[in-house]
Symmetry: C2
Subunit: 406 residues, 2 copies
Amino acid sequence: MAVGDVSMPQMHVVQGVKLSAVEAYIRYPNRRDLVLLQFAADTQVAGVFTQNAFCAAPVTVSKMHLEQSNPRYLLINTGNANAGTGPQGLSNAQQSCLKLSELAAVEMAQVLPFSTGVIGEQLPIQRLIDGLPQALAALRDDAWVDAAAGIMTTDTTPKGASEQFECDGIVYSMTGISKGAGMIRPNMATMLAFVATDFPISAEILQQLLTRTVNRSFNRITIDGDTSTNDSCILAATGQAGGACLENLDDPRYGVVAEVLERVMTRLAQLIVRDGEGATKFITVTVEGGAHTQECCDVAYSIAHSPLVKTALFASDPNWGRILCAIGYAGVVDLDVNKVQVWLDDVQICKDGGAAEDYTEAAGVAVMQRPEMTIRVDLGRGVAKDTVYTCDLSYDYVKINADYRS
Amino acid sequence: MAVGDVSMPQMHVVQGVKLSAVEAYIRYPNRRDLVLLQFAADTQVAGVFTQNAFCAAPVTVSKMHLEQSNPRYLLINTGNANAGTGPQGLSNAQQSCLKLSELAAVEMAQVLPFSTGVIGEQLPIQRLIDGLPQALAALRDDAWVDAAAGIMTTDTTPKGASEQFECDGIVYSMTGISKGAGMIRPNMATMLAFVATDFPISAEILQQLLTRTVNRSFNRITIDGDTSTNDSCILAATGQAGGACLENLDDPRYGVVAEVLERVMTRLAQLIVRDGEGATKFITVTVEGGAHTQECCDVAYSIAHSPLVKTALFASDPNWGRILCAIGYAGVVDLDVNKVQVWLDDVQICKDGGAAEDYTEAAGVAVMQRPEMTIRVDLGRGVAKDTVYTCDLSYDYVKINADYRS
């Protein structure tokens, strides 16, 4: 059960984007596991990918193809990550692109492949290829919800975010989907996220927007600290809604688009945490008063990764000593612990490095029982700030990951 | 239930060391929670302590006292960590030393305090002080087992190691105890470990021996990646068994002592992992073929910390993709994944970065079902090697840590 409101919003059609989700029996029967996104000609596409050295074959191929061409198709399968699969895995990823490019009459490099699922097994490439004609035939502009469902693995809910916004009298759409519930500590992007707008944006600005926004959204979440082999995030701008192309940062429309993108991507990233494997709580960790943003980020992740903090959150136990402990080993140089303050929502639990005098266990428990709460830390060293989103560690996390392959 | 043989060996008396364990009701009634170690005059004492910025009050005081004097007493309480307790906590730690020094007619700085237990609550100092006369009266040279039991918190078994060895016709003893089962990712030393020998060793050599050996034992284990606020490891040499003082590294006896110490400390460190909270498996992670030791250590810890690897170990699931994934995000610069080999005990699961051709799931499962196994990685970059010890992540880890304070 995901935490809080994870309902699918109205998914606005993005002009120039069509989608489909079909059954190809990649791993399990009777589920849509092959998803296709088609972009109109001249769509600009930007991507960020996992930093894991064992990056999956489709990541390698997608990065290569993205350098060579303007992609027209995203080909996504679930059930199999095609990672740790050596030369055969690379060949399979390339073959899937080749077959689709032949059927769709585009260049092979105009297809970007994505896979998610079990690591270390070869992709059932023939079944995937057999599903392609059906996927092409099923393309529709209103299939965002189907696509969101089709990329799920251990996710319990499809994840989508969508907004409309107006610039110079034109109404644009920004719509995206994401998936991921475990092996989540993105380092460049989350497992899989695809966002598209019909706003016209140049390639350069698009990549800048994507990198900037991923660092404020997908790169600020953690479930279990495991950086996946397959993390990929794609942002596409079809330009099909019209208007002048956004080509420089001084364009007054830049701020509007950036703001909408940040809301959409933050929502998609938070949805992944809300659906974290076994999660019963959605936790915002905000660290302020740092000398620089990196140390705030380090402290926030130290808290968000601590199994002891996460089990205390699961138990609704305001065991703030574990939070102090995690702050203490975050590696902040010359941290003066006597200047550290910690709050659970509005309740100050730690003042000047020790217990806050007016803190009561009852007040702490009352906050910890909330399904959504904020751990706020002030380091007392400066004005930098950063925020990370995470969830608790429950019996079900262990159950899900001990049972995943069976 | 601890994994494998964790039985207490014959704990050889160390001449010049007396111990006691009494009930002081630090947190729970009817348990020995106050432990005292007394060293003969002129005993040399060396220590290493946690690197956590929020180090506990007793750690601060012990470090200070160790610089000022030759300690005669170690005063240890369980049930309360005296960490995150501010000025009051420091005062309490100092007061406990002062009271003991008055009763024992030594200097205050000759007492080193140690605490372990819940973080963030003030020490019940009066109850602790009230227990001191009884602790002094109960000192005996054969109470190592009682002391091992008296320092336990969530440990399910007392932990001890002991050897006798001969140099120049004299028989010496080396005996130690340790505790710790959660919040274990030592960075200098484990939660608490106390080792003593009646071999005569100079202060300088003693500190060198301790630092060297801790880096090969306590600094190579992890249960949950949480570096505690209270980690402390003490090594004492009473010299009471006679013989010339070991004063330089060229002394042929140095190698003998170093070897015994490494065996004793490695056993004490491994006992902590075997008794890891909720542990059902004892795992050795060996990484070889590295360009330098640090990257081997990084990769070993990356595997040993991964919740996905640890839950797969719990499930006896040879999900080697998770191991590759953890290797991939360990931050090894320019890792060529095509040179990586991985074995589970004697079964090669990954060859040249992909699945080993002759690997079968059945062979993998057979190894994974063993209560003790080795994950061996060859990075194919050089000749450096390092080893880390860890355990799996089970339902019971979550249960223990969600329930700990209730």
